[in-house]
């Protein structure tokens, strides 16, 4: 019902009414349209009231307790990721435009729609907005930019991923795990998004330092591609590959076990902790190389602004890792509970009805 214009008997310009219906925020569209219908006088007034209602909805959402903090962090993280490729002024302009886009997007996201899909859409939209705005700025002021198109795209992904993580933390539903099997793919994508952001960061840091021995890290995108093939290939036993179903185990349990294997959980053993620390050490390598070059007084070819912005992004991604890890842990627990409940339900004998007696 929410996606179809109701059969309105009022007013002649049907196109105008359809536009007004489409423009109303989804969360209160039915209520507002019903009210407009009940108190209808003219199409002009209806359009005015539609725009008034949109303005009110935009303003009212900022009264959420988390909203000002989130908007501020979003505004800081996007310019931080853009400083390598844009001047501070244009980074601010782009960040403001993207934040405004996301601000409008918030009104059109239904808060009742649980699950993580909406956060992923946010990430996609933020990335597209960042790339489009940067391209526009690039076309207008090409003299002020580093002419490296891949670096611009990479920075956009890093900024958008960072911004969307903030949205994820602040907008996480209160009880997100009641649809854990449906949400699992979105949670896995959040993990992959985080890894991609780390790899992009590593790539751009190396570009900023331009230091021979660590240039091997620029091969990271190739490594990521290989890992993705490894994860999905049935021949290599990838966990994301279609699995053969066992006839002796409960299908739900098989699905849950498969899902659990793909999520990165908090390190349990010293070896796992070492791997985790090693990953962050590798991420810090370009910064360490830059410090070494500075110490030995050969820092002329280091882009320090770019590198400092990347160091800030690394810090933020490290903080996000704690949240992603916690999210994975809670997902695994929710999956276990779901399987346990299902097995308990199957073990219970069916209740006798009057027809059986």
């Amino acid at each position: 019902m929410a996606h179809k214009v109701p059969n309105i008997q009022i007013g002649k310009p049907r196109v105008l009414l359809t536009i007004a219906w489409r423009l109303l925020p989804i969360s209160c569209r039915i209520d507002l349209w019903g009210d407009f219908h009940q108190t209808y006088t003219s199409p002009g007034l209806l359009i005015r009231r539609t725009f008034g209602a949109i303005r009110g909805a935009l303003r009212a959402q900022t009264e959420e307790r988390y909203y000002p903090g989130r908007a501020l962090m979003q505004m800081l993280i996007i310019p931080a990721s853009l400083l390598g490729t844009l001047t501070p002024f244009w980074a601010g302009v782009v960040a403001g435009s993207v934040t405004a886009g996301l601000f409008v997007r918030d009104v059109y996201t239904n808060p009742k729609n649980k699950g993580y899909a909406c956060f992923l859409w946010d990430a996609v939209i933020a990335t597209c907005l960042l790339i489009v705005f940067q391209a526009l700025v690039f076309l207008r002021l090409s003299g002020q930019l580093i002419p490296e198109a891949p670096a611009i795209a990479a920075q956009s992904v890093a900024g958008a991923a960072g911004a969307s993580y903030f949205r994820l933390i602040f907008r996480m539903p209160r009880n997100p795990f009641d649809r854990v099997l449906e949400d699992y793919k979105d949670i896995l994508t959040i993990n992959l998004l985080w890894i991609t952001a780390c790899q992009v960061l590593m790539y751009t840091s190396v570009v900023a330092v331009s230091y021979g021995p660590i240039n091997i890290l620029t091969g990271a995108p190739v490594a990521i591609g290989a890992v993705l093939i490894r994860l999905q290939s049935p021949r290599l036993g990838g966990v994301l590959a279609p699995q053969l179903m066992s006839l002796t185990t409960n299908p739900l349990q098989q699905r849950a076990d498969h899902a659990k294997r793909t999520l990165a959980l908090p390190a349990q053993t010293p070896a796992q902790r070492c791997v985790e620390l090693g990953f962050f050490a590798v991420l810090l390598l370009p910064f360490a190389a830059a410090l070494w070059k500075w110490w030995t007084k050969q820092d002329a070819d280091i882009d320090w602004t770019h590198l400092c912005a990347n160091a800030g992004s690394l810090l933020i991604l490290s903080i996000f890792w704690l949240h992603v890890r916690e999210l994975n842990d809670e997902t695994v627990k929710a999956l276990d509970k779901k399987v346990k409940d299902e097995l308990k339900r199957l073990e219970k004998p069916p209740e006798k009805t009057d027809g059986d007696i």
Binding site: N7, G34, G52, A53, I54, A57, L58, A60
Partner: protein, 119 residues
């Protein structure tokens, strides 16, 4: 459920829904809100009503589709005990603020303001 402070609009909306009793649906709440607030906005009202529901202060239910609303349903709201408690607490705070100001203030406040001169 964590306790949140009520904003000005949230307080007015809870009061409007409480005042309307069984007739508290969107448009009626808006009309009541017009009596309580200067120039309220319908979009703000629905977003705030939704937030009050998520906070656990209100509960709502849709009716069947109605012809007078172009085949769309009405949404009726009721205040939950948690909402009533929050509204009461908010009113008591306002009462305390009112009590803090002496009655003489209202009689003698006038322009221009004069401060005592200390030498």
């Amino acid at each position: 459920m964590e306790k949140d402070k009520l904003t000005h609009l949230e307080e007015s909306l809870l009061a409007a829904v409480a005042a309307l009793g069984e007739d508290a649906y969107g448009l009626a709440v808006y009309n009541k809100l017009c009596e309580l607030e200067d120039d309220p906005n319908q979009g703000s009202m629905y977003v705030t009503l939704d937030r009050l529901e998520r906070k656990g202060y209100l509960v709502s239910q849709y009716t069947l589709p109605l012809p007078e609303r172009g085949g769309l349903p009405k949404k009726y709201y009721r205040v939950k005990p948690e909402g009533a408690a929050a509204l009461k607490e908010s009113f008591e705070k306002s009462k305390r603020k009112m009590k803090a100001v002496p009655n003489s203030f209202w009689r003698f406040v006038k322009w221009p303001i004069k401060f005592p001169i200390y030498k």
